[in-house]
């Protein structure tokens, strides 16, 4: 029974397949195994709906994190499908060797394992360990090309990430120290479910310091400005599947951690309200990233900045709080993961067929590669928040609710959105339209993941199934 426990499977499948993939040398086989494993993980994650196991000292499944888990495993699966077709091309062009590929696939599963673990962890220490595991795995993936830029990006990621790790740990220790007098020593003082029940009695001052360190520590992973420095380079220099995973998943996982602690802090009456902090950081990230979009020359780096922008919006929404804004934040997060990974799928194939990531060298895609080009157009239009795609709905809710509650906050929000919109559109004009340039060679791409994601986003923009809505609303009410 326990072996068939989906929770165990969600963790065991990636771990086992990571070990397996480390042994297999044939990249075709390993990529297939990779897809298969990711699929099985997705299935077991879905089966979590059927019989969510009761929380214990280490693991917890509640309505909040099940959303994250399903999203995580789904995007993980689609990305593995995309990566299968992507990696083959990399091998042909000789940017990667089979040895590295073996490493790559193993690390992919390790990364998935780490993220799933972080999501199901009920123990804040365990959560910390898991997130760091995932981070280190991604560091190694980012540096996998061994080019100078890749190494530099990995190094930057590594150093800044380690500092983030340290902060997060310090925050965790502080939380433990706050809990210890009330809950008592030992493991119980790190179990989130216990903490959330007793947090009202904790010492507020300790919680405040703890939250600051946790916000900075995990916020580094979320990519909030000015802690974002690692993010653009890591996206730009790593393999594109990893960029997709970073934008689509890792940021969410870190955000999940922040949310958990925000709930802790919000439950303590004397402690500082976490909202204003998050709102401020979110707005800074949004506006900053929108301006940064204008001067980008590298297509992947540009979309990395757009990820920062959206993370800013999401953190802003959760900082605003309230059922409407929280709902919008969850929706925005889901839509952003789907859309951004879809964009990276498109960008991956584009940069492969054009042989460059320089925006200036890519023109008229809708002429040379209509499917890819229009896919990119659709993706960018979606990420820019145009209807009838999903992000418009969330941004609609965020902006309108903000303006009716805090009109002054809406001004930087709206102007940031507009500035970012202008930048994305300007680049899109050059990429997708105008006189074509570069190779017109046909590309053997797997369009399924990209258009699957975009279709989901489109449907969500028009029709949200009531169960999902009810679920999100419930989660939003949990978040408070």
């Amino acid at each position: 029974m326990t072996m068939l426990n989906p929770l165990v499977l969600v963790l065991a499948i990636p771990a086992a397949s990571a070990a397996l993939l480390a042994l297999i040398s044939s990249y075709r086989l390993s990529s297939r195994i990779n897809v298969l494993a990711s699929f099985l993980t997705l299935v077991s994650a879905l089966s979590l709906f059927v019989q969510p196991p009761p929380p214990d000292a280490y693991f917890l499944i509640d309505d909040l994190n099940i959303v994250f888990i399903v999203l995580n495993t789904f995007v993980g699966f689609t990305t593995s499908v995309f990566s299968a077709s992507y990696i083959a091309h990399e091998l042909e062009t000789g940017r990667l060797t089979p040895a590295y590929l073996r490493f790559y696939h193993a690390m992919y599963q390790v990364m998935m394992f780490g993220m799933n673990l972080a999501l199901v962890a009920n123990n804040i220490g365990l959560m910390w360990v898991a997130i760091e595991l995932a981070t280190l795995a991604t560091v190694l993936m980012v540096g996998i090309y061994r080019t100078h830029e890749a190494l530099e990006a990995a190094w930057k990621y590594f150093i800044l990430g380690s500092v983030g790790i340290a902060f997060a740990l310090f925050g965790t220790i502080l939380v433990y120290l706050a809990a210890q007098p009330i809950v008592g020593e030992g493991l119980q003082a790190m179990v989130w479910t216990v903490l959330i029940q007793r947090v009202a009695e904790f010492d507020p001052a300790l919680l405040n310091v703890a939250f600051i360190f946790l916000l900075l520590g995990y916020g580094t992973k979320v990519g909030l400005a000015p802690l974002h420095a690692w993010l653009p380079d890591a996206h730009a220099e790593g393999p594109t599947p990893i960029s997709a995973v970073l934008s689509g998943l890792l940021l969410n996982v870190a955000l999940y951690a922040v949310l958990r602690f925000k709930m802790l802090l919000a439950a303590n009456p004397e402690a500082i309200a976490p909202g204003p902090l998050m709102v401020t950081l979110g707005l800074i990230s949004l506006v900053f990233a929108s301006f940064m979009l204008y001067r980008r020359r590298d297509i992947k780096r540009m979309f990395a900045y757009s990820s920062i922008e959206h993370m800013g919006i999401i953190v802003f929404a959760f900082g605003m709080g309230g059922p409407l804004a929280n709902f919008a934040g969850l929706l925005q997060m889901t839509m952003h993961s789907l859309t951004k990974s879809a964009i990276f799928f498109a960008v991956g194939h584009i940069s492969q067929v054009k042989g460059t990531q320089r925006i200036a060298d890519i023109k008229g895609l809708t002429e040379t590669h209509p499917v890819l080009g229009w896919g990119l157009v659709l993706g960018v239009v979606a990420i820019a928040g145009m209807p009838p795609l999903g992000i418009f709905m969330s941004e609609f809710l965020i902006v309108s609710s903000t303006f009716s509650r805090e009109p002054l906050l809406a001004i930087p929000l709206v102007s940031g959105l507009l500035v970012g919109f202008g930048a994305l559109l300007l680049r899109l004009n050059g990429l997708a339209f105008g006189e074509p340039s570069g190779s017109v060679a046909p590309v053997e791409a797997s369009y399924l993941p990209m258009f699957g994601h975009l279709a989901l986003v489109l449907i969500a923009g028009i029709y949200l199934p009531p169960p999902l809505v009810a679920w999100f609303q419930h989660v939003a009410s949990i978040l408070g």
Binding site: G125, V129, E132, L136, H148, E149, L151, E152, A153, W155, K156, F158, I159, S162, V163, I165, A166, L169, F170, I173, L174, Y176, L177, A178, Q180, P181, E185, G186, L187, A189, M190, D203, A205, L206, V209, P232, D233, A236, E237, R295, R296, R297, D298, R301, Q357
Partner: protein, 220 residues
């Protein structure tokens, strides 16, 4: 007896802060490495003492790791490395010693203020230790910020992490402490190897615009 225990704990923790200041004061790498070794040894002592007064034997493991790994292995490798990289007699602080020290004092004061707001019924030992740990952490960060080359930054990071270990061991009955310290040691090993493998001295850390155009993928 418990008072004495408290005082010794304070002494060691305060000593760590002091040594951190000494590290800020060093502007040559070899000396810096030596002082860091001292820092690690002090940490080991403090951890051992905590293990004794909390009579939690497994903290001794942490102490031994701190002593052996950070106290001897890392410094020795670093020494050999800087000789290899030929940066063993460079002055590589960004801001002068004086401002750095002043900033450090400010940071210590800040951490005191922040931590002493904690209400007293929190375990006093933990509370005082926490203040020191926070200051060690901030000083380490300050050092990372004020050192230009990678080795100096790594040392700064390690002292920061010492502060963490101090806090972790100070927190009574906190689980996973040993695992965490092991994990961090591995992390540091990674960093050091990274520096050594990629010959990172100031290359990734240059402010030279040509280098930027060549390295930072996104030309202006």
């Amino acid at each position: 007896m418990p008072n004495l225990a408290l005082d010794i704990a304070h002494l060691l923790a305060g000593g760590l802060v002091l040594v951190s200041f000494m590290m800020l004061y060093q502007d040559r790498l070899p000396a810096l490495i030596n002082v860091f070794a001292l820092h690690a040894i002090l940490l080991a002592a403090s951890v051992a003492w905590q293990a004794d007064i909390q009579n939690e034997p497994y903290l001794y493991v942490t102490a031994i790791i701190a002593l052996g790994f950070k106290g001897f292995v890392i410094p020795m490798t670093l020494r050999r490395m800087i000789v290899r990289l030929g940066i063993h007699r460079e002055i590589e602080t960004v801001v002068g010693i004086g401002p750095a020290m002043l900033a450090g004092i400010g940071l210590v004061a800040l951490s005191m203020v922040v931590m002493l707001r904690v209400t007293a019924e929190a375990d006093p030992l933990a509370r005082e230790d926490l203040a020191f740990a926070l200051s060690v952490l901030l000083l380490g960060l300050l050092m990372m910020v004020t050192r230009r080359n990678a080795v100096g930054q790594v040392i700064g990071f390690m002292s920061l992490e010492n502060g963490l270990i101090l806090a972790a061991t100070g927190a009574k009955g906190m689980p996973l402490v040993v695992e965490i310290s092991v994990a961090f040691s591995i992390l540091i090993a990674f960093i050091v190897i990274g520096i050594f493998l990629f010959r990172i001295r100031e290359r990734f850390d240059t402010v030279d615009v040509q280098a930027l155009d060549r390295f930072r993928g996104d030309q202006r």
